[in-house]
């Protein structure tokens, strides 16, 4: 018996504007509303709306034998409500099919798990409330920002009542076929861990449209046969949702691929598609995952270096969290929201100075003129934030 589990990451940060040095103490507006609106509108048109529509159709067509899960960050939901409310409606429609599971995460898609246990819990709870409010959904599965995980995280989220958590299938921790197993969080009673099969996931997420790839073009039945050949029993496919229509444009054939995918998979004997909580319910844990250090799905290092790899990133993030206590004590709702929006991991990702293959990815996503620029703008904003605090 083979079980395939899909999860899609949906996230959009509140991108910062070019906050000017003379704005400090005078103008407290930090975010580029125009750019943020344009990006949400564009991605909604190219990805969210068509893909949601297609997936809802597929779930209904296959009578809920095709199922998927989503982790939609709070900041993404907030911007959809503001700039593209029809996307919220289409997610509601998806949830109503009964074939969709929504995952818990930090509302602000932050690294709070690494920096502040209390703030982490608060952000997870805010996100839980948001899912309840919008979709009437109470999440029991958890996906941390960019699959950031460690033993510490396992302990944190078990305390919060989650049953299962997603993480990256890091070869050097789990061995070659480790991603096919169900794992238990170290020191937890029975927190189950689903590990990403990065080869099969990246076939769709990264390589799909690459003409240099020997397997190009990729068709659904070919990929399904690889899934079948992959050692199981679990195959976890975790990808950015923007893969559909945004990273891989419609012209690459990605939607046709998706359209045929459930049929290709479900025609395989003894293969089923489940959501994370269904997997956790069905399978007992086979092994305990020992993961004392932080891992993630980012870059070739699979660690925190995409966000905290250089002094600029560490200085900015240290500064942000050094303000936590006073910001929260201020009771100023706007100030707290601004501070939290600045905790979104993307701002620190933009400051990365890594080279070679990874630098290309960083560059593609970077709205500023390079990592140094991202850093100095962030420090101006944090100075203003601190000034507001001391007013």
């Amino acid at each position: 018996m083979k079980t395939v589990c899909f999860y899609f990451q949906v996230h959009q940060p509140f991108r910062m504007r070019n906050y000017h040095i003379l704005d400090i103490g005078k103008n407290h507006h930090y975010f580029d509303d125009k750019q943020n609106r344009e990006i949400i509108r564009k991605v909604a048109e190219k990805c969210y709306l068509p893909t949601n529509r297609l997936i809802a159709k597929l779930i209904r067509r296959h009578k809920r034998k095709f199922r998927v899960s989503y982790s939609v960050s709070g900041v993404a939901l907030e911007q959809m409500e503001k700039y593209a409310p029809e996307v919220i409606d289409s997610f509601r429609d998806l949830v109503s099919t009964g074939g969709v599971e929504m995952l818990g995460e930090t509302y602000y898609h932050s690294l709070s798990a690494v920096y502040s246990k209390d703030e982490f819990e608060r952000q997870v709870n805010i996100h839980r409330e948001k899912l309840n409010q919008l979709f009437g959904f109470n999440p029991t599965s958890f996906r941390n920002t960019e699959l950031i995980y460690s033993d510490h995280l396992a302990w944190l989220i078990q305390k919060m009542g989650f049953q299962v958590v997603m993480a990256e299938g890091v070869d050097w921790l789990i061995g070659e076929n480790g991603a096919g197993k169900i794992w238990r969080g170290r020191g937890t009673d029975n927190l189950k861990i689903l590990l990403r099969n990065y080869r099969l996931s990246d076939d769709i997420g990264f390589r799909f449209s690459s003409p240099d790839w020997s397997e190009h073009p990729l068709f659904a039945d070919k990929w399904a046969s690889w899934v079948n050949a992959s050692p199981g029993p679990i195959i976890n496919i975790f990808i950015d949702y923007e893969t559909f229509g945004e990273h891989q444009w419609a012209s690459t054939g990605i939607f046709e691929f998706l359209d045929f995918l459930p049929k290709a998979l479900l025609s395989i004997k003894d293969l089923e598609i489940l959501t994370p909580s269904q997997v956790a319910e069905k399978y007992p844990a086979q092994d305990e995952l020992v993961c004392p250090n932080w891992i993630s799905w980012a870059d070739t290092e699979r660690d925190l270096s995409a966000w905290l790899g250089n002094p600029m990133q560490r200085n900015a993030m240290d500064k942000l969290y050094s303000l936590e206590k006073d910001i929260l004590a201020s009771g100023d709702f706007e100030l707290i929201c601004d501070w939290r929006k600045l905790s979104t991991s993307d701002h620190y990702y933009y400051m990365s100075t890594k080279y070679a293959a990874d630098a290309e990815v960083h560059k593609y996503f970077n709205p500023h003129h390079g990592p140094h620029f991202a850093y100095i703008v962030m420090m101006r904003i944090l100075s203003d934030l601190e000034e507001r605090l001391n007013r």
Binding site: L22, I24, M312, R380
Partner: protein, 409 residues
């Protein structure tokens, strides 16, 4: 007159000084035709501006490109190697740069000189006046045609600008200065540098200090006590070796060890920007040392006015106009001994650029004592009033007349 940049399109003090000088000379009755590589504004009333680019366009019979979209100005401070890198990048991204610009800055300079000949051939002139090495060749070409006195104005020399002077630029400076009938230096400091580096006899040189615009600046009275949580300390200049930004951040770090209610703002950008930003981050003081990036004139003024102290730790500063600007707006200053303005500003505390301890101590004293700062500003005011572009223009005119009389006899 041959210049390289002129307001509003300026990248540094050269453009500001050119503006002040032309205005000052015009006030004394001088009629100036200023030749620039490119200029898109309307000429001010007191000077006729000709751009060699427009001459080229006429030669090409009206073929025009939207040049501003490519690069509005080639900075007079751009290093030849940076120029080449910029050119390569522009070529890679497929911009039209290569249609307009040559692959190196020397080609630009040569073209400027070649097209400048057209101006010389067409006009009736008494004096040729050039500003810095990038225009020397044009001046020498013009002298060949016109046979009139050649004045080279030194705003800086290569040894000021680079720790390892570019030999080709040095060669161009040397031949230009040798060809000059008279050399005007922006300070005694610069005169000594020219003497030392190019063995030019002092008899061929005069000092013409820059001026400062006092319009909009009030004579310092009691400064209203500002109730601010942090004191703002300003650095204004390109982030490049010559200006000493590396020393500035060391000074800042020293001062932050003594008191934390300080915010340093570095306005400007340059080849050292990235390493300095990284160093500040590495020290974990990025919340106290902020980078403003490159600012326009209006924002610079606003930033000066909102500052409590100005620091200029230049490694080699031929003049240091920004220090005068800060002082004229009522911001006390500490400056390096290695600057031209140091010879003019008796009451401003000074230190050697490498003496971080001394710099920090002087700065902290000024911050701690508003009375001391007030006294400094009051004492400095008469000097500021004396340093005006009219007087600089007068010295220029006197020297022009001397030179013209000399050729006539």
């Amino acid at each position: 007159m041959f210049g390289w940049e002129y307001p509003p399109l300026i990248s540094g003090g050269l453009g500001v000084a050119c503006y002040g000088l032309t205005k000052g000379i015009a006030r004394q009755g001088g009629k100036i035709t200023l030749v620039l590589p490119r200029y898109y504004e309307k000429s001010p009333k007191f000077v006729k501006i000709v751009s060699t680019e427009s001459i080229q366009e006429k030669l090409d019979s009206g073929k025009t490109l939207k040049k501003q979209e490519v690069m509005p100005i080639i900075s007079g401070y751009l290093r030849p190697e940076d120029y080449e890198q910029w050119y390569r990048e522009e070529t890679v991204v497929g911009s039209k740069a290569r249609l307009i610009y040559g692959p190196d800055i020397y080609g630009e300079i040569e073209r400027f000189a070649r097209l400048s000949r057209k101006v010389a051939e067409a006009g009736d002139f008494d004096i040729i006046h050039c500003h810095d090495w990038i225009t020397y060749q044009a001046g020498m070409e013009a002298k060949k045609i016109l046979g009139i006195p050649l004045v080279m104005h030194v705003h800086s020399i290569e040894a000021d600008r680079a720790p390892y002077p570019n030999p080709r630029i040095c060669e161009m400076e040397k031949s230009g200065l040798n060809a000059a009938d008279l050399i005007m230096c922006v300070s005694r400091y610069t005169l000594e540098q020219v003497k030392k580096n190019y063995q030019i006899p002092e008899s061929k040189m005069v000092v013409v200090h820059n001026g400062v615009e006092l319009a909009g600046c009030a004579k310092p009275g009691r400064r209203p006590a500002r109730k601010k949580r942090v004191r703002q300390i300003l650095y204004l200049g390109r982030l490049t070796w010559q200006k000493g930004p590396e020393y500035l951040v060391e000074i800042a770090k020293k001062m932050l060890e003594k008191r934390t209610d300080l915010r340093f703002v570095l306005a400007g950008w340059g080849d050292l920007a990235h390493p300095i930003v990284e160093r500040v981050a590495d020290w974990g003081v990025g919340d106290h040392i902020l980078f403003a990036g490159f600012l326009d004139e209006i924002d610079v003024k606003k930033l000066i006015r909102s500052s409590d102290l100005f620091l200029m730790p230049s490694v080699s500063e031929p003049f240091g106009l920004v220090a005068l600007e800060a002082l004229s707006h009522g911001v006390p200053a500490v400056i390096s001994n290695q600057s031209g303005v140091a010879e003019l500003l008796d009451y401003v505390p000074k230190a050697d650029f490498w003496d971080i301890e001394q710099f920090a101590q002087l700065a902290l004293q000024l911050l701690a004592s508003p009375k001391l700062a007030e006294k400094q500003l009051k004492n400095i005011w008469p000097t500021l009033e004396k340093l005006n572009w009219n007087d600089s223009g007068k010295i220029c005119m006197e020297n022009y007349q001397r030179l013209m009389a000399g050729t006539a006899s």
